[in-house]
Every structure is written in C-alpha cells, then in structure tokens.
C-alpha cells in the first residue's frame, strides 16, 4: 500500500504543470436549466421563445434537418397544438414531390416535413459565407468543453449533462468588439471568448431587442442566448422528459428489487454463516424452513 501511495503522489506531482497549461479558453459559466437533474422538464415558454429566435435569426444560415414539424406538438416539447404546428409548417416552402409531368415544385410544409435546410449543399454555403454553418439539430450534444479532473467525477453524481447548452449560451454572448491587444484575426472572423481558438466565422447573431417577445421575458442578448440554447437542447434530446420520467420509475423499481434481494440473500445465507459446519449441498426443496 505504501508503494501504491508513493507512485500515486509521483504521478500527481509530475502531472501538475501539464494540467495548468490547459486553461486557455475560459470555461463557460454554468446556468440554471429547467431540464437539468433527475426531475428536469423543459420550460415550454422558453422552448417557444427559442423557436422564435431560431426562426428570426438562426435559420437564415443553420438548418434543423432532423427535426420534423410534427414534433413541435409532441409531448415533452415546446407544447404547441397540432393546429399551431401545422400553421408553422405551412409557413415554410419545402421541395415537393414530382407531379404528373415529372416537375418538382416547392409546396408549403406539412407536419411530416422537416425544417428545410437553408443551402442546397455545402458548396453553396461556402460560396456565400466562406464557411459551412453547421446543422443545429444535435448541436447541443455535439458541443461541450473539457470539465477536467476532479469536476468530471463530480458530474457523475450531480448529473451535469449541460456542457453543450452552457457552451452555446456562453458562445452567443461571448463576442468582443475587438480582439485583445496582440491578437490578429483572419479576415472575416470575429473574436469570441469561448470559441476554441477565439476566431469564429459566425458574425455576432444577437443584439438586444432583435426578437420581439410577447410573454414579457427580457429582450436581451443574454435571454435570447439562453432560450435558443434550451430550444436546441430540446431538438437534440426531444425525449429527455420521457427519459427522466422512465428513469425514475426504473430507479424506484431497482432499488426496491435490490432491497428485497438483499434481505432474501441474508435469509438464505443465514444458516451458512451461523452453522457453516452443518451444510451439505442439497436440492432447494430440502432446505429447512426457518
């Protein structure tokens, strides 16, 4: 054991300087999310506001090609009615099916359609913006940041799964008007505190009062950033609420089961532990009833 402790201490002392080098990009601040934790649920109003931000700001460049309009009315989502989801779908023009003449025309979207992508292909996007804006369907899970030791161990117990949304929120209000002294950006790039490498091709998308909220939520960059991030968490994990609800049921079941099995085990082994010398293997039908 002494040897084990020595080798552990040695490894830790050698690693300390290496750990210090990792703090280049600041860790995004942790927000309070309604969907965090074992009982987490999406805030319907927040998801609806987030969808509004998406439709008025993000969708010019970013698609949601995995998200179907019908899911807007699914339980555990933004809580639209079928009629509302149908109306939202109808506001989009999507590529239709070939008609009798073989012509393909655009038609209004239906519930079964997905959000149309803004560019026909990556080349078209690059020609326009000099970069390919990523599809946002699973972006909240496709981004994150290094939690580092020992925080990642704590995350197992605190169930912290919101690295992605925290990062997106921080990114959206992490723009600085000019880079710090000594930093030059490539042309067409912007300085963002939280973006790895700091030079981001996306212009600052949000400004105060850019999107009109009708529910009294503050119309600030910070609020917009949180709402769109929450909305993108939902697009990435549309069944999060069902998952956590089923999880709690499974948990209660397993804890009760484990408890019952534990006491059954105690009972079955009672004789072995009390009178180990008496036992012989025998069929279960012959076990004495205590």
């Amino acid at each position: 054991m002494a040897a084990a402790r020595t080798i552990l201490a040695l490894a830790v002392s050698l690693a300390a300087p290496a750990l210090a080098q990792e703090q280049e990009t600041p860790a995004p601040p942790m927000n309070k999310w309604s969907f965090a934790g074992p009982f987490g649920k999406y805030d319907r109003a927040q998801l609806q506001r987030g969808l509004k931000v998406y439709r008025e700001v993000c969708q010019v460049c970013h698609g949601l090609k995995l998200v179907a309009f019908r899911t807007l009315a699914d339980p555990g989502g933004p809580g639209f009615t079928i009629a509302q989801a149908t109306a939202i779908a109808a506001e989009y023009q999507v590529k239709g099916e070939p008609d009798d003449q073989g012509e393909v025309k655009d038609r209004p979207g239906r519930l079964a359609d997905v959000f149309p992508t803004p560019f026909p292909n990556d080349q078209a996007a690059r020609a326009r913006y000099n970069a390919v804006p990523p599809d946002l369907s699973v972006i909240a899970k496709a981004r994150g940041y290094e939690r580092g030791f020992p925080r990642w161990v704590g995350d197992i117990f605190t169930q912290y799964q919101e690295q992605g949304v925290d990062y997106l929120t921080a990114l959206l209000h992490g723009y600085r008007d000019s880079p710090p002294a000594g930093v030059t950006l490539p042309p067409g790039n912007f300085y963002n505190e939280y973006f790895p490498g700091h030079a981001i091709a996306m212009p600052p998308p949000l400004t105060d009062k850019r999107v009109d909220y009708t529910d009294g939520a503050p119309m600030t960059v910070e609020q917009y950033a949180k709402d769109i991030s929450a909305f993108l968490m939902w697009t990435a994990e549309p069944h999060l609420e069902a998952r956590k609800r089923v999880g709690m049921q499974v948990f209660i079941f397993l804890i009760v089961l484990a408890g019952l099995l534990y006491f059954t085990k105690k009972k079955v082994w009672h004789e072995v532990e009390l009178h180990p010398e008496k036992l012989k293997p025998r069929p279960p039908s012959e076990y004495p009833r205590a």
Binding site: S137, A142, L254, K265, W269, P276
Partner: protein
C-alpha cells in the same frame, strides 16, 4: 464433488424429455446443485453480471439493427432517427452505448479479481485464456460498434486504428487497404464493420459457453485459493450463488440505469454527434474510456511499429499470465508482497487510462512511459521473481477452517475445528 443429488424429473414431460435430451439434468447439475465454494465474496458475482450484459447488448443490438442503415450517407441520420422516431429508440440506443461501457467495467473488475486471487493458476489456465480471448473479442466488437454511428469520432477512430496495421513492414499498406475495402475508410469499411459487429457477439457467446464449461470442469477458485476439500467447503449454486449474484446484479443495474437515464452522454464524446467528415480532423482523437490504457501504451512508445507491438503485447501478455506467475500460492491474501505490487498495477492501469485521454505531450508522455514500463515489468519481471523470493503466509487447511477462524490467526499449525474433515 461427488455425492450431490442427481436430477429427478418431477413432471411426465420432463421424464419423457430426459430420456431423449437430458437438458433438465444439465441445467440441474450446472446451475442448481453445482457446488460453489462457500466463501466466495461479491467480487465473484461479476461473471453473472457479464453474462447479463452480453444478453443486454445482443437484445438491444438486434433491435437497433432493425432500424439502422449501414451506409455512409444515412448511417448518422439513421441513428438519430432511432433516437427520435423509433418507439423507445432513445432507450435502446442509450442502453446499447452505455451497456458497452458497463460490459467493459464488469470485465475489468472480473479480471482484476482473477488476478488478485490467482484464479488463472493450475488447473484454470485454459479458463483464463478463454477469458483473454473474450476480452480481445470484446475490444474488436466494441471498436466496430463505435464506428457504426458514423460521427467524427467513429470515422477518425476507424482511420487511426486501421492505420495501426500500416506499421507492419512490407505488407502493412496492402493489409490496411484490404481492411478498408478501398483506399480510404469509406462505405465498404462501414459495411464490413457492421457485418462483423453483428457476427462477433455470437462468437463471444460461443467462447462464453467454453469459458463456463472450463469453469465447471475446474470448479471455482475462492478467496483463500485453497481448493474445496469436502462437502463442508461448498454450498449449492442454487439458492446460494444465485441469490448473491441476483442481488449484486440488481445493484449493478442501478449504476447502469443511472448512466442510461440521467447521464447517457457522459461517456460519449460530443464530437461523435458531428457527422463524419473526412476533410476535418478533430483536435483530439480519443477512444472510448475502456481502450484508453492500451491507447496510452501505444502512444508512450515513439516508434510506430514498436508502439503497435506494445499495444498488442499488452493484451496478449495476459494469456501467458498462468506461467509468468511462478508462485504456487494462489490468493493475494497469503502473498503480502504480491498484494502490494498488485495494487500498484491497478493504479498503473487506471493511470494509463487517464493518460490515454490526455494529449501526448510534456510530462504526460514521461508518466505514460514509466507506467508502461511498470505494466510490462509486472508480468515479465515482478511476477516470475516474486514467486521465487516471496515468503507467503501459511495457508488454511481448508475453506471451512478459514471461514470458521475468520478474524483469528489461521495457519497450518492451527488445529482443524472439531468435526471438519480435512
């Protein structure tokens, strides 16, 4: 062990069956009256847990395969469709992805237990080697499964790992092309990985059958490492082992459920939610946590060929463990020196896992090299020498004696308890 009751079919159907295919008798003798050492602790329940996890992986995997599309343009989206549109698809996929981690966790605990109690020694060498083969099959199967979602990590893991074979002199490059089915990781690679990922679990099932067969021939080892000598040393598999295994399996499932339902993405890299893009290399290509120790060994060695050899050797060396360990005493309980080296070995393995996730630079490389040297020295130097020089503690005469005298000095000089057959 002789003398345990034989199977007496209770129903007319089972009597009819027993004269034609004695499956009832096989189950009865293997899983009911099968004698297990009475002193097995909870570390012995991981075999059952592993069998359960294999079942979970196969059942969820078969259903996932019904909805998955093994084609580079659709694979990523088809996994997302499973998550969104298949009934309980999110549950199936998270069970399967997290299940792989749980499977490896249980396998590593199972192996460390075998090493601590010397379970690989005569007459259980073949049992142990079959276990090493199972680990190897699991590693290959898990890797191929990781490629299937066709995210960035999938693609680049496939690229990095298959490229390891290019280190082989002369035939390296043709082998890699053959593995890929082309000149780069592409659709043929995905197709064959899918095919093999479906096939290999059933090969694993076959080897598990052999593993259990070998176990039932040699019998289980136990924490004393002393073979059962009389019926007093054993208890029947059912109900004793069955109930103990069931309890710990339920506890293990609580851990499993915690990950599946509350932190399903904790063990998955965010980069794998980005569709595969051969034109963009991720900043850090990191394998799943269960490969990290081997990955650290690979990177600890500056030469690619020797790195790949060390990677292979780090797994294959396990197969030689029964002969590298020269001590006649099985259990680390009676090997004070071995016990220390064993725990250092555990720390080194965990440490290598931690280093495998770090960029290969600065002191990380230095520590990885020290740990790699220890990893191999443990097998090649420490174990052979220790068997010759270590002064082991006296062994109990029997399992019963050890159980009865728990907490009191035990040893060959202690008289056996009254009534115990020695």
């Amino acid at each position: 062990m002789s003398g345990h009751p034989t199977y007496q079919p209770q129903s007319a159907f089972m009597r009819w069956m027993e004269r034609r295919l004695p499956i009832g008798g096989l189950i009865y003798s293997s899983f009911v009256v099968y004698p297990t050492p009475r002193n097995l602790n909870y570390w012995w329940t991981f075999g059952g847990i592993l069998a359960f996890m294999l079942g979970v992986q196969i059942v969820t995997g078969v259903v996932l395969a019904m909805h998955y599309t093994p084609q580079v343009d659709f694979a990523f989206d088809s996994v997302e469709r499973i998550m969104r549109d298949v009934n309980y698809g999110w549950l199936l996929r998270y069970l399967h992805a997290t299940g792989a981690s749980m499977f490896f966790l249980a396998a590593y605990i199972h192996m460390f237990r075998g090493m601590y109690y010397g379970s690989y020694k005569d007459p259980r060498e073949v049992l142990w080697i079959l276990g090493v083969i199972l680990l190897l099959l699991m590693i290959i199967t898990g890797f191929m499964g990781y490629v299937l979602p066709w995210g960035q990590m999938s693609f680049w893991a496939a690229t990095v790992i298959t490229n390891l074979f290019s280190a082989i002199p002369l035939v390296g490059e043709p082998i890699v092309t053959w593995l890929w089915g082309g000149y780069a990781v592409g659709n043929p690679t995905l197709n064959r990985f899918y095919s093999l990922h479906y096939l290999l679990p059933f090969v694993i099932v076959g080897v598990v059958v052999l593993h259990i067969w070998a176990l039932h021939v040699a019998g289980q080892n136990n924490p004393t490492g002393v073979e059962p000598k009389s019926e007093e040393d054993t208890v029947a598999f059912t109900p004793y082992a069955t109930i103990k295994d069931s309890f710990l399996l339920a506890v293990f499932c609580i851990l499993f459920a915690w990950f599946v339902f509350y932190i399903p993405n904790f063990l998955l890299a965010p980069d794998n939610y980005i569709p595969a893009n051969p034109a963009v290399t991720p900043t850090h290509i990191v394998p799943e946590w269960y490969y990290l120790p081997f990955y650290a060994i690979l990177r600890a060695i500056p030469n690619k060929l020797f790195g790949v050899m060390a990677l292979g050797a780090s797994i294959l060396i396990l197969a030689f463990l029964p002969w590298l360990d020269t001590s006649k005493v099985r259990s680390a309980r009676y090997r004070p020196l071995y016990r220390q080296f064993f725990w250092v070995f555990v720390i080194v393995c965990v440490g290598l896992g931690w280093l495998g996730g770090k960029p290969p630079e600065g002191n990380y490389v230095l520590i990885a090299r020290i740990f790699t040297v220890y990893y191999f020295a443990f097998f090649l130097v420490i174990l052979p020498v220790l068997g010759k020089v270590e002064r082991t503690k006296p062994l109990p005469n029997s399992i019963s004696e050890s159980v009865l005298r728990e907490g009191k000095p035990i040893g060959a000089q202690a008289p056996p308890p009254a009534g115990a057959k020695v």
